[in-house]
């Protein structure tokens, strides 16, 4: 017994030690941020000296290949600047590593980051305000100005009067549909919710000996639920007040719409397949709403199936979420590094490069001049599936960027899954989602 209590005591001590240790780290990190800032301010700008900048990203496969090519070309044009690309795995891994690096004061010069992460970095003074550089003498050239970047993407990077990033890989949601199935049944791509529901019902049947389900929802439906609320004419969250606004008739209408389709079998979740690109290219689902970044992926596996995309069907309103990461700059870098990194950030989204990137990946050109330019327009003329994204900028909206919005999304996801997978009713789900989401936001205040 004596030994046991000793063990318990020791355990408690070790837990305490660990807990205290962690606290200390945090204290250090915030001190460090301000310390580094001072260092930066005193650093001299020497543009003629060779500079190496480090760019942490989460681009894999063909996306990474494009990025490597772009960095190589950039270094050719700017002999003094070397860009070191560091692949940090998935977005989750990247986020974790950025957190660890920030605490160790070893942040890279620049990194891909969601606006949501930038909210946190901003709160801890980890990132650089780009506004002075944008408005400075080495800002954007007149033929590719900052204002030329689509408003929805500029807003995503603007925090108060600070600009904390530039857009890079941006995508939107589009409706993927199987042209063969639609044409054989005399249907066209749905433009409203009612048409969507009707088409899903018609196409839920055996086609060519295969049991087809009309509509598919991605497993990450919770992350795009704001889109359904907005389309139903409702609101999602008031960013200024940090208040959840979706517990309304519009919210209920959205959940009921999804729930009804799932219940009557005219829609399915991606489920075990992970993503719907698989079932879609196999012809198991006739249409689904998914990321435009999946275009290249669907194209690869579609074989000789005829397919295309359409703008998102609307209900009361048209609303299209714009997602994807920006590139943000960290404060513990020298002024020379920051100047060099800014050049690279601009380079990645020149009108030519943003179109080239979009062609290679299915992401969107981030500049208005590029979206309306001959190069892109003739490309989407030939590649019909890329047109839908281009039609949605006017209806675009961005994710909530409040502190705690990550926790809020998780809370929403937990409650929504109860409806999607466990048969909870839309009304009780909406109520629970709203309460839990508000709790998550309040906790972060």
């Amino acid at each position: 017994m004596k030994k046991f209590s000793l063990l318990v005591f020791l355990l408690m001590v070790s837990v305490l030690l660990v807990a205290c240790g962690d606290d200390k780290e945090e204290g250090n990190a915030s001190n460090a941020a301000s310390g580094d800032k001072k260092q930066t301010e005193t650093a001299k700008t020497e543009t003629t000296e060779p500079v190496e900048i480090e760019f942490w990203h989460a681009m894999n496969g063909d996306h990474e290949v494009w990025l490597e090519d772009a960095a190589a070309k950039f270094s050719e044009e700017n002999e003094n600047i070397t860009v070191k690309l560091v692949n940090q795995g998935s977005y989750g891994d990247l986020s974790q590593k950025l957190l660890a690096a920030a605490k160790a004061k070893t942040s890279p010069t620049i990194a891909q980051a969601y606006a949501e992460w930038m909210t946190e970095y901003n709160a801890n003074n980890l990132v650089v305000d780009l506004a002075p550089m944008i408005n400075g003498e080495n800002g954007f050239p007149a033929d590719a100005s900052y204002e030329d970047i689509s408003e929805v993407f500029r807003v995503d990077n603007t925090f108060g009067d600070k600009v904390l990033g530039l857009p890079f890989n941006k995508s939107t949601r589009v409706l993927f549909y199987n042209k063969d199935y639609f044409e054989a049944n005399g249907l066209t791509a749905p433009t409203t919710w009612d048409e969507l529901a009707a088409a899903a019902k018609t196409l839920t049947k055996e086609i060519d000996g295969k049991q087809v389900v009309g509509m598919g929802f991605e497993n990450g439906l919770a992350h795009e639920i704001s889109m359904w609320f907005e389309q139903a004419g409702g609101d999602f969250v008031d960013e200024k007040e940090g208040k959840v606004l979706f517990n309304t008739d519009a919210g209920l209408r959205a959940l009921t719409f999804i729930d009804t389709m799932l219940k009557d079998g005219s829609a399915r979740m991606a489920g075990e397949d992970g993503y719907l690109s698989g079932p879609f290219t196999r012809g198991d689902v006739a249409m689904y709403i998914g990321s435009s970044a999946g275009l290249a992926y669907v194209a690869k596996d579609a074989g000789n199936m005829n397919w295309s995309t359409a703008p998102l069907p609307k209900d009361v309103e048209a609303a299209a979420p714009f997602q994807g990461t920006n590139i943000t700059m960290f404060a513990n870098s020298t002024e020379a590094e920051q100047a060099a990194a800014f050049e690279f950030m601009k380079y990645l989204i020149t009108p030519e490069n943003t179109v080239d990137w979009a062609k290679a990946t299915g992401y969107l050109p981030v500049r208005e001049s590029a979206q309306q330019g001959q190069d892109w327009l003739s490309f989407i003329e030939e590649n019909e599936a890329y047109q839908a994204g281009n039609a949605q900028y006017a209806d675009g909206f961005i994710d909530v960027r409040l502190p705690g919005s990550y926790a809020m999304k998780n809370a929403i996801s937990v409650e929504l899954d109860k409806m999607l997978f466990e048969g909870a009713t839309p009304a009780e789900t909406l109520e629970a989602m709203s309460t839990k989401a508000q709790e998550a936001l309040d906790q972060a205040k």
Binding site: S14, V15, K97, K105, G274
Partner: protein
């Protein structure tokens, strides 16, 4: 004791089912590695692809510098395993056969650290290594992994079962602690040590998060990190991922085949009388 043919059939039948269940994932992996993208997720599942696409292997290996990753994985695995075996044997001997002040307290403290989940320590450990200047170097990949409380615990329990009388007899013959450890304890504990080596080697070979966190350049990364090349935002290229996995897993299977005699002894040994 003689087993009747009926119960023998039953036992073999059960073992047969067990082994099929164990082999199934491997078969699936190899079969997937030869499929086309379309066939991967096909329902009902296809076990034998229409055409064997050996090209998948070529393509997979073009996606990342796997030769460098392979070399790094081998270096890290060998050195960290070697380091762990040395520290484990010494520590387990001290905790089981030597008497010193605070031995039990120290041991309880060490075992207590096993309660702290690794994720909690990720950031503090990263900060520590960063301050030491080890980030993106072999030191970071190897040195933190050259001691394992779990292994020490495992071997200590094994050592404790070895009767004290052996120690006394050796002492009478003028044997030093080190000699006793080297000539008597280690040979007796061979199955346990091989188990530790094997668990360590597999763990090190498969480790993903830590190598990813502490390295930045492709020259320093290991095989599991290389596998992320096949995951994209819109999904995973399973056929290539499985092709690369098949190649990566091969050394572990070879290691297992050569050492399986010891593994079984090491695990079954726990129940054998001292």
């Amino acid at each position: 004791m003689k087993t009747s043919p009926l119960s023998k059939t039953f036992i073999y039948g059960l073992l047969g089912i067990g082994s099929i269940l164990m082999l199934l994932p491997f078969v699936w992996m190899i079969s997937t590695s030869l499929k086309s993208g379309n066939e991967v997720m096909m329902m009902p599942p296809i076990w034998i692809p229409e055409t064997f696409r050996f090209d998948n292997y070529v393509e997979a290996f073009k996606k990342a510098p796997f030769a460098t990753y392979f070399l790094n994985s081998v270096i890290v695995m060998v050195l960290s395993t070697l380091g762990e075996v040395i520290t484990t044997i010494l520590a387990a001997y001290a905790f089981s056969k030597l008497n010193f002040w605070g031995k039990d307290v120290l041991f309880a403290l060490l075992v207590g650290t096993m309660m702290v989940p690794g994720e909690v320590l990720l950031v503090p450990n990263f900060v520590l290594l960063s301050n030491l200047g080890w980030i993106d170097r072999y030191e970071a990949l190897i040195i933190p992994w050259t001691a394992s409380i779990f292994s020490i615990f495992l071997l200590r329990q094994f050592f404790m079962k070895i009767p004290k009388e052996l120690n006394y007899a050796a002492r009478v013959d003028g044997c030093t602690n080190f000699r006793f450890l080297w000539s008597i304890m280690i040979p007796i504990a061979k199955p346990a040590i091989v188990t530790i080596i094997l668990l360590k080697a597999i763990g090190s070979w498969n480790a993903f998060l830590w190598p990813l966190i502490v390295t930045n350049s492709k020259e320093m990364r290991t095989l599991p990190v290389g596998l992320t090349s096949f995951s994209t935002e819109a999904g995973t290229v399973y056929e290539l991922l499985m092709a690369a996995s098949t190649m990566i897993i091969l050394p572990m299977i070879i290691l297992f085949i050569f050492l399986q005699k010891y593994i079984i002894k090491g695990i079954a040994g726990a129940g054998i009388k001292g």
